[in-house]
């Protein structure tokens, strides 16, 4: 079984960390990941930029709406996670709109640029339907 571990934190506090504090936290996080990585069980790991860098594509009546900021309504929960390389935000928005158009169960796709991207080394398994 594969899992996505989504980290939620108080953004304003995390972004108030000094460089040293941040480095210390990151080092500890890396240490926790190391055994999994050694066992070949670590998948893609990404750190998101602050929600101020977020854009949300919300299903509209005709065409999906593009909104600035994170998707914050808590009644709907995060269901999926894609990573891809886009030249511009517009390409990313188009991709999300296309997803939105064919997925009757979806309501929002949040587009967030990465700070860090490790492709990891696990391969797809029975999780892919």
């Amino acid at each position: 079984m594969l899992y996505a571990i989504l980290c939620y934190a108080h953004e304003e506090t995390v972004f108030a960390w000094s460089r040293e504090e941040e480095a210390a936290v990151m080092e500890k996080l890396h240490a926790v990941q190391a055994p999994l990585e050694k066992a070949g069980k670590l998948g893609p790991v990404g750190r998101l930029m602050p929600t101020t860098a977020a854009t949300t594509v919300r299903k509209g009546r005709d065409e999906a709406l593009v909104l600035d900021g994170p998707f914050a309504e808590t009644k709907e929960v995060l269901l999926g996670f894609y990573t891809a390389d886009f030249e511009t935000l517009d390409e990313a928005v188009k991709f999300a709109k296309d997803l939105s158009a064919v997925n009757p169960g979806s309501s929002s796709y949040e587009i967030r640029p990465f700070y860090v991207f490790h492709p990891g080394q696990i391969t797809a398994s029975e999780a892919i339907v």
Binding site: H10, E12, T13, F15, A16, W17, E21, M49, P50, T51, T52, A53, T55, V66, L67, D68, G69, T88, L89, D90, V93, P113, Y115
Partner: protein, 424 residues
């Protein structure tokens, strides 16, 4: 991180919202600040044992409001303070607090708190000092350090600025300029406040940026300005000019480690070691600019950010797209005509077309910029490139006479040395 360290970060993060709400409630800055201070002291006493509340800002507003009301009552009737026990078990009431506090005001509360520091009668330096004290919560010695003045002088400056605001507020008539209303602003008023506050935040940034490496505290000013603009972005997520301002500051700050050598001498953009640029900040900035541009509603901050982005995108100085930078400066000249913008454009023109064209361009702004250090510095550089060494020497001498800091003067002296090498 220690418990206290964590609590301090949480208090700083909650400060604009909590203090802004208390200001709306008490309509007086001193009372609001005292109430907030008292709430913070209680937080430091109770949070380590009971754990932090789920919503620190709501907790601080609730406790601060009670404490402020008691202070007012105490002053009015000279009554003793109620027992500590009346406040001590607040965690159980937390669910309640969240309901009772009217969260719908919080955007305007934060904006008002920032806006009150931008009184038009206050000179720029006082606006910066006041917002660092009130909005950011920096201590007087921290601010004094950043401005290289004594603690006492800074204390006096802040006290005077606050007195001026208090006076204007008490004499206020509806519609007076520079007087801050406590009612919910309409869309027009909100937009005007946002614009003023954005300019103030850029002042804070520039104060830190221009004094540079000689005073490490000023790195903090740049970081503080970035923190403030992130707060604005969170409460007003769809303002392209605020995105532009954020982009501009992130890109300028990304170069901080490369802007000065070990002796504190300025290193020009083209000579900077680009591997020292902060790629994380640049990535965030470029993403932010992409967001802003989607709105197709340009403005001065976005244009300046776009220019900075072209520099950030160039891996080597010779990769810089000077032609595009020239176009962006032309758009900026059109939107915000200023001789300084023309001077900056001249640098792009010299790279794209040559020094003669640039010299012709700056000749048009020679009169208004005659007393400006950068004008003579740039002109000297262009004359040197054009091979007019005698005229270049003259321009550099003028620049040294107008230098604002030893680093600036030293930089020009280096140019003069190069001039000597060219001649010999």
């Amino acid at each position: 991180m220690t418990d206290i360290g964590w609590i301090e970060l949480a208090l700083t993060a909650a400060r604009p919202q909590a203090l802004g709400a208390l200001l709306r409630y008490f309509r007086d800055l001193d009372t609001a600040e005292e109430a907030f201070q008292e709430a913070c002291l209680r937080a430091i006493r109770t949070w380590p044992d009971k754990g932090a509340p789920r919503d620190p800002a709501a907790w601080l507003i609730f406790v601060g409001r009670n404490s402020g009301v008691d202070q007012i009552r105490k002053r009015a009737k000279n009554e003793p303070l109620p027992e500590e026990a009346a406040f001590s078990d607040l965690s159980d009431a937390e669910e309640d607090i969240a309901d009772r506090l009217d969260n719908s005001h919080y955007r305007d509360d934060i904006l008002r708190l920032m806006f009150i520091c931008c009184h038009p009668e206050l000179p720029n330096t006082q606006q910066i000092a006041l917002s660092l004290r009130i909005v950011s919560g920096l201590t007087v010695p921290q601010i004094a350090n950043a401005f290289l003045v004594s603690d006492a002088a800074m204390e006096q400056r802040i006290t005077r600025a606050k007195a001026r605001i208090a006076k204007a507020q008490s004499e206020r008539r509806p519609g007076d300029k520079g007087v801050v209303g406590f009612e919910t602003p309409d869309a027009y008023e909100r937009a005007a406040r946002l614009k003023t506050v954005a300019a103030m935040i850029y002042l804070v940034f520039n104060e830190g940026y221009s004094s540079g490496v000689n005073n490490p505290d000023n790195i903090t000013l740049c970081e503080e300005a970035i923190r403030l603009v992130r707060i604005l972005l969170r409460i007003f997520p769809s303002e392209p000019e605020i995105m532009g301002l954020a982009t501009l500051m992130l890109l300028q700050h990304a170069r901080a480690a490369a802007r000065f050598d070990e002796a504190g001498q300025i290193i020009l953009l083209e000579n900077q070691d680009r591997s020292l640029w902060d790629t994380k900040l640049i990535a965030e900035a470029l993403a932010m600019l992409d967001k802003a541009v989607r709105h197709k509603s340009g403005g001065p901050y976005q244009l300046q950010a776009a220019i900075a982005a072209l520099h950030a995108r160039a891996e080597k100085p010779e990769d810089t797209d000077w032609w595009q930078i020239d176009l962006l400066y032309q758009a900026l000249e059109h939107l915000q005509p200023s001789p300084v913008v023309t001077l900056n454009r001249a640098v792009a023109v010299s790279k794209a077309e040559g020094p003669e064209e640039a010299l012709a361009l700056i000749a048009t702004v020679a009169a208004p910029l005659d007393g400006y250090f950068y004008f003579h510095g740039v002109r000297g550089g262009l004359l040197m490139q054009a091979g007019q060494t005698a005229e270049a020497r003259e321009a550099f001498d003028r620049a040294i006479g107008l230098a604002n800091s030893p680093a600036e003067a030293a930089h020009i002296r280096m140019q003069i040395d190069r001039l000597g090498e060219l001649r010999s």
